[in-house]
């Protein structure tokens, strides 16, 4: 890895604190990701991208800005990437998956707030995230009250454009959201000094759809039993998809899928005995949050699918292509993003139906619900998810946690007990 200290210094990072953070990541990556056996060769690209998470990719963003482009940071799957791409911008999902500068963040925010928001502010205050420091604009959204109020505070430190996301999906809500999409267009045009035209937007829709199709293809290959890829590797790819160059990522994911298809046809799996197949559902897991998937997979089960924003929720729906002129395309984009089934919506029947569908399609043995403490939408909606799964007699385990590692032992006991339960209930054991 090259020496990027001069670049980081220019971005205003706190070099000592940043070096400290970079020291923590490789051993964590080793334990959670690299220690896995029989990984596909195509994962090498993603290992490389991760090893350069604060290096080469940041250099690309710096070069992109030097040549007149903008960088836009997002926190959520609701922000239309197509619009950012269409003004010649690069879109990056912002780090918020580790406990960083919690005490500093708690000078601004209450203690009893979800780890994701605290972490996001912690990265900003500690000056250790080169992504947020590279951004010309941050785009927030009203997906929960904590984030909504947090963006007001963050806006004091760096410009934030907040999109108002409706909480229902009726016609009035659609009108509001289509309007919000246009408000973002205006802000992006102002920041970038570029107008969005039909050709650029059509191209952007195609590029992001191709990325989604590649990720959907990968998701489909996770139906294979025996498995050809681990849940942790799939999660890593999804996490990287939030900040890597979309065209290159699409190509690499497709190349990996070619390899996985060969594995499937040749009977090559990630090895080991039969593993119970787990659906992970709930709050997002930003880099480097691999705690729960690692516990699950080192306890002898497989994360076969993730019903999360860092999982299938991110790429499940495509934007309708061929929606006509600029206005038609903007409506098509708005409509696609409004389909997302975040727990902030009421009612949110789509999410329950989707979970049942995933349980069937992915031959799921049990659902583990990952809840970040103090995340109201997801912790409360867990009850309805459990009710739904009870009807289908699918075992359900609710895990409430945060970004600390003190509860690893207790979480491991719960996960292992679930695995024992699933294994003894299966008639095939006898």
């Amino acid at each position: 890895m090259s020496d990027y200290h001069a670049m980081w210094e220019k971005l205003g990072l706190d070099l000592a604190a940043h070096d400290g953070l970079l020291e923590v990541l490789p051993p964590l990556y080793q334990d959670c990701i690299l220690s896995q056996e029989n990984r596909p060769e195509g994962m090498q690209y993603f290992d490389f991208v991760f090893s350069e998470v604060h290096g080469l990719r940041i250099k690309e963003l710096v070069d992109h800005r030097a040549s007149g482009g903008i960088v836009v940071g997002t926190f959520c799957t609701y922000v239309p990437e197509e619009l950012i791409l269409a003004v010649g911008g690069a879109c990056v999902g912002l780090c918020a998956g580790a406990q960083v500068a919690e005490e500093a963040a708690e000078q601004y925010l209450p203690r009893n707030l979800c780890a994701l928001i605290k972490s996001s502010l912690g990265f900003k205050l500690a000056k250790v995230c080169p992504y947020i420091e590279s951004c010309d604009l941050l785009v927030g959204e009203t997906t929960c009250d904590g984030k909504k109020k947090y963006y007001e505070i963050l806006n004091q430190l760096q410009p934030v454009h907040t999109m108002e996301l409706p909480q229902r999906k009726d016609e009035a809500d659609r009108r509001l959201w289509r309007e919000e999409v246009r408000r973002l267009v205006a802000r992006l045009e102002e920041i970038s000094g570029r107008k969005i035209d039909e050709a650029a937007l059509r191209d952007a829709i195609r590029v992001i759809n191709e990325k989604r199709k590649a990720l959907l293809r990968l998701a489909g290959l996770r139906k294979c039993d025996p498995p050809v890829i681990s849940g942790r590797d799939a999660l890593l790819i999804n996490q990287i998809a939030f900040y890597d160059d979309p065209v290159r990522l699409t190509e690499k994911v497709n190349a990996l899928c070619d390899e996985l298809e060969e594995r499937r046809d040749g009977g090559i799996s990630i090895g080991g005995a039969h593993r119970p197949r787990i659906l992970l559902s709930g709050c997002p897991m930003a880099i480097p949050n691999w705690k729960v998937p690692t516990i699950i997979e080192t306890s002898g089960a497989l994360v076969a699918m993730d019903e999360m924003c860092t999982g299938i929720r991110y790429f499940r729906h495509l934007v309708e292509e061929g929606a006509g002129d600029l206005e038609g395309m903007l409506d098509a984009i708005a409509d696609r993003y409004l389909k997302i089934d975040c727990a902030v919506f009421t009612p949110n029947r789509e999410r329950l139906d989707h979970i049942s569908e995933l349980v069937r399609d992915y031959d799921i043995d049990a659902v583990i619900y990952y809840a970040l403490q103090f995340c109201d939408p997801y912790t409360v909606e867990a009850f309805q998810v459990q009710q739904e799964l009870e009807k289908e007699r699918v075992p359900f385990l609710y895990l409430e946690t945060d970004y600390s590692s003190e509860d690893m032992g207790q979480l491991t006991t719960r996960v292992q007990a679930l695995i024992e339960m699933v294994e003894t209930q299966k008639p095939s054991v006898f």
């Binding site: 409430e400 207790q410 006991t413 339960m421």
Partner: protein
């Protein structure tokens, strides 16, 4: 075949040695700050073919001397159904965890619930509260039974509850009433956990806190049924761990 089951909990370590389905040895010691040394001391001069560890220290044991590990959920299910074959629901209140387990066919775990990550409503909570009142935990249970009436303790967080208790003492509230309130608070928690898995008879109460007479009385009142308490409630996990090997052999045969 002789099997040793070792349950390494946060407060105590239990050992049960089973030979041909008969318990030939049992002992409980404190976990202390050096659980590995305590285990070695317990296991010294014991003969067995297989050692199965359970409890929160099971992975430590596996890294050092245990042949197999199972979770305490499975261990309690096996142990309780051995002692009471009619058992369908288990409440285990241990040092740092409270578990409610529902058993299905053949004593298999059908569902389970555990407390939140903190020690709210566990044996540790009772210990801290007893200390705040200058009592031994067993004294606090006896005192609580004598109380006529109670005061409401609303905090279940150990830290907050301790401040609440300190406040009650400062206001001159008699200790038996506070002790009763604390037991009621744990009872609320435990019965809510039990209801989440469903309360079906017979219900077995195990774990260290099952020694506490007040908890037992209050839980029986609250649930409207009689609880079955094993003779050695702290050793059920170790027994289950030992039986896990035997039952697997039975299935094979």
């Amino acid at each position: 075949m002789t099997v040793a089951g070792l349950d390494i909990g946060s407060r105590t370590i239990g050992l049960v040695v089973v030979n041909d389905g008969e318990i030939v040895f049992r002992e409980v010691v404190d976990t202390t700050f050096d659980p590995l040394e305590q285990c070695r001391r317990l296991l010294a001069q014991r003969d067995f073919d297989v050692l199965v560890a359970t409890g929160y220290g099971r992975h430590l044991a596996q890294a050092n001397f245990a042949d197999q590990v199972i979770t305490e959920i499975k261990a309690f299910a096996l142990g309780c159904s051995h002692v009471f074959p009619q058992c369908r629901t288990i409440l285990d209140i241990g040092g740092q965890d409270t578990k409610a387990i529902s058993l299905g066919e053949g004593g298999k775990v059908a569902d389970f619930q555990m407390n939140d990550r903190c020690a709210a409503g566990t044996g540790k909570f009772l210990e801290v509260m007893a200390a705040a009142m200058g009592l031994l935990p067993e004294e606090m249970g006896r005192l609580a039974l004598q109380a006529e009436g109670e005061v409401k303790i609303s905090s279940m967080c150990t830290v907050f509850a301790e401040s609440e208790v300190t406040g009650l003492i400062a206001r001159g509230t008699p200790r038996p009433l506070i002790a009763r309130g604390l037991h009621e608070a744990i009872c609320d928690r435990a019965s809510a956990l039990l209801r989440r898995v469903g309360v079906r008879r017979e219900v077995v109460f195990a774990g260290g806190v099952a020694h506490n007479p007040c908890m037992r009385v209050l839980l029986e009142e609250r649930l409207g049924l009689q609880l079955l308490v094993p003779e050695n409630p702290q050793l059920v996990g170790a027994l289950g761990a030992a039986l896990s090997v035997l039952s697997r052999d039975d299935v094979r045969a």
